[in-house]
């Protein structure tokens, strides 16, 4: 019987400086044991998260930012905000780190087959959406879905994540990408303004579509009603929530949203589900 609380040993393989202010870095972790790797990829679905564990610093949840086909590693994009994330930011290639997961439900990508997918992200919350987009855009999966529209906003160009990949997405005829930054910058050829406004401008068609929104709470709050306005059904609007967590497996009681636990019943919820829950966020 597995112990829900036991981290598996991982090794930091690669560290990517994502933003020019160094506040966001991506860490690619490889498995030290084959059985762990097998178990992970058997279970993994984009939109899930893991608890990373550093003994002495504790544990914290991070969305998974890699698609399974990318290789035998798991990527996390970590913003340096507290003592745990600061420790990760100061770790080096070759360091070991504990991991538990994948946890939570993830995006219901099987149900989305045959539909258009509108991906809307802001800031570092784009990480699981990046994994989702990479998954869908892979040759093996792309034909299962209709039109793909990605809308991604960051405060400034220097704070945009995954720059090489996103740049390459502009070359792909089978997707539509809209990037935005909050205030104008010289040399920026894309949208300027807040994500909700960009969504309004782009106005993706709600017909046979699902929309996925992940971003800072304020962005999500203003984006959801715009999608409803455009004509998306609340059942077809998905978002991923965050709250402080300890166990990540629905036991410690911390991350509840009414009767649901974000760690176990979520983190992905439809707007229709959220409309039925007390917004204790």
């Amino acid at each position: 019987m597995d112990n829900l609380y036991e981290p598996i040993p991982m090794r930091i393989e690669r560290i990517i400086q994502e933003t020019d202010d160094a506040s966001l870095r991506s860490f690619e972790l490889s498995f030290m044991r084959d059985a762990d790797e097998k178990a992970f990829f058997k279970a993994y679905n984009p939109g899930q998260f893991c608890q990373l564990s550093i003994f002495g610093k504790g544990e914290a949840p991070f969305g998974i930012a890699s698609a399974a086909w990318e290789g035998k590693f798991v990527r996390f994009t970590v913003q340096n905000v507290g003592s745990f994330t600061d420790t990760i930011h100061h770790s080096r290639v070759g360091d070991s780190i504990g991991m538990r997961g994948p946890l939570g439900n993830g995006f219901p990508i099987q149900d989305w087959k045959g539909k258009d997918v509108v991906v809307i992200g802001g800031g570092c919350a784009f990480s699981t959406l990046y994994a989702l987009t990479k998954h869908i855009m892979h040759a093996d999966n792309r034909k299962e879905y209709g039109r793909i529209v990605v809308i991604y906003g960051a405060r400034s160009s220097g704070l945009c994540l995954y720059k090489p990949d996103i740049k390459s997405w502009y070359q792909r005829p089978d997707m539509e990408i809209h990037q935005a930054i909050d205030v104008p910058e010289e040399g920026w050829d894309f949208h300027t303004g807040y994500v909700p406004d960009v969504v309004k401008d782009v106005a993706p068609s709600p017909k046979n579509s699902v929309a996925v929104v992940c971003g800072p709470p304020i962005m999500t709050k203003y984006t959801l009603p715009i999608l409803v306005e455009i004509g998306f059904d609340a059942k077809d609007i998905f978002t991923s929530l965050e709250k402080k967590m300890k166990c990540g497996v629905g036991k410690c009681g911390r991350c509840n949203l009414g009767p649901k636990y974000i760690c176990k019943d979520g983190p992905v919820f439809t707007l229709a589900e959220l409309n039925e829950l007390p917004l204790d966020l």
Binding site: M1, L4, Y5, E6, G58, G98, G258, D280
Partner: protein, 335 residues
């Protein structure tokens, strides 16, 4: 299953027999009041009328502080669980029901908490019903009762010169198979005592209605009103038999990862690294506590998460009474 009998003069002998194969945990007297501990002598057992322990016996399965792992070179090792089987004797039905409720969190086959699970599978719960209800108890209004059966392997009713011992599970039945059977008169007497134990004026709480009213009141300022005098000490949650929230912390000097009881009544409980806190004041925290008991448990298990033990009422330093709080919130007229 056939009810059995332990004559009071044979009580010590019966309990002593269990010592061979079991650790027996039972209520004993201390200067702070009654508490549960492992006993070595049946004479230590304190079954005084309807007096319950100050601490709920949930710590038998969910210790206040327990080592999850000893950590060496990033290797997380779970400590060995006590191999001996245990009998928890003298639990009250409110607390046994709490274990039954907590099994829905920790003891699910596909999602087992190993620490709880290993303790639980090796334990028998022998409850002693309360012939009269304790002063702040309201178990009979929240789905249980002074002789409620949920969670117990055996339920005991105290007669004049004997204990009427009613097995409720096959494990309970096996433990007492060598005891003499109770006769019909003893059975009738036990029934009478059980019937007489409830307070006639008590009315069963209308849980669906309470749940609905609490949800309606979610965004009102009533939570500020009912929590005005709350000190935020958290004693209501620490002493609650169904509160199970825990924190996980690393004790570096001991090389241990530990879990400790935690409480939603503390500000830091939900404070996030960004500085955001979804429950910044005691109003939101009180709302969480009350709604968890009377709305979220009802949603998830169709049962009240409060077993009516009354500890949070007896031990609150400012005399807050969860019954009155629920009453006040649910009588709120919302436009």
């Amino acid at each position: 299953m056939m009810p059995k009998l332990i004559k009071k003069i044979e009580f010590d002998k019966t309990i002593s027999k269990w010592f061979k194969s079991y650790d027996v945990i039972a209520p004993v007297s201390s200067k702070e009041g009654i508490h549960f501990k492992r006993i070595k002598d049946p004479k230590e057992i304190k079954l005084d009328g309807n007096q319950n322990s100050i601490y709920p016996p949930k710590n038998v399965f969910l210790p206040q502080s327990e080592v999850l792992f000893t950590v060496k070179n990033d290797n997380y090792e779970m400590p060995d669980q006590a191999p001996r089987k245990r009998i928890v004797f003298g639990m009250r039905p409110c607390d046994a029901r709490a274990v039954w409720l907590l099994d829905t969190i920790f003891n699910k086959a596909d999602d087992l908490d190993l620490y709880w699970g290993k303790r639980r599978e090796k334990a028998l719960i022998i409850s002693v019903g309360c012939a009269s209800m304790c002063s702040n108890g309201f178990c009979d209004t929240v789905g249980s009762g002074p002789f409620g059966k949920d969670g117990s392997d055996i339920l005991i009713t105290e007669l004049d010169d004997a204990y009427f011992v009613d097995p409720l599970t096959s494990a309970g039945e096996a433990l007492i198979k060598s005891l003499p059977e109770a006769d019909d008169t003893q059975g009738k007497n036990a029934k009478l005592i059980q019937k007489g134990s409830v307070i006639k004026e008590h009315q069963a709480a209308d849980l669906p209605r309470i749940r609905e009213k609490l949800y309606e009141a979610f965004n009102t300022s009533i939570w500020k009103d009912v929590s005005e005098s709350c000190l935020g000490c958290g004693v209501c949650t620490y002493l609650c038999p169904t509160c199970f929230c825990f924190d996980i912390v690393d004790e570096i000097d001991r090389s241990e990862r530990v879990r400790n009881w935690d409480t939603c009544m503390f500000r830091v409980y939900s404070a996030e690294a960004s500085g955001h806190n979804p429950r910044p004041t005691k109003a939101e925290r009180t709302r969480q506590r009350i709604m968890h008991k009377f709305a979220y448990w009802v949603d998830n298990e169709a049962a009240s998460g409060c077993t009516g033990c009354g500890r949070c009422i007896s031990q609150c330093p400012v005399n807050l009474d969860i019954r009155e709080m629920v009453q006040e919130i649910t009588s709120l007229k919302i436009q």
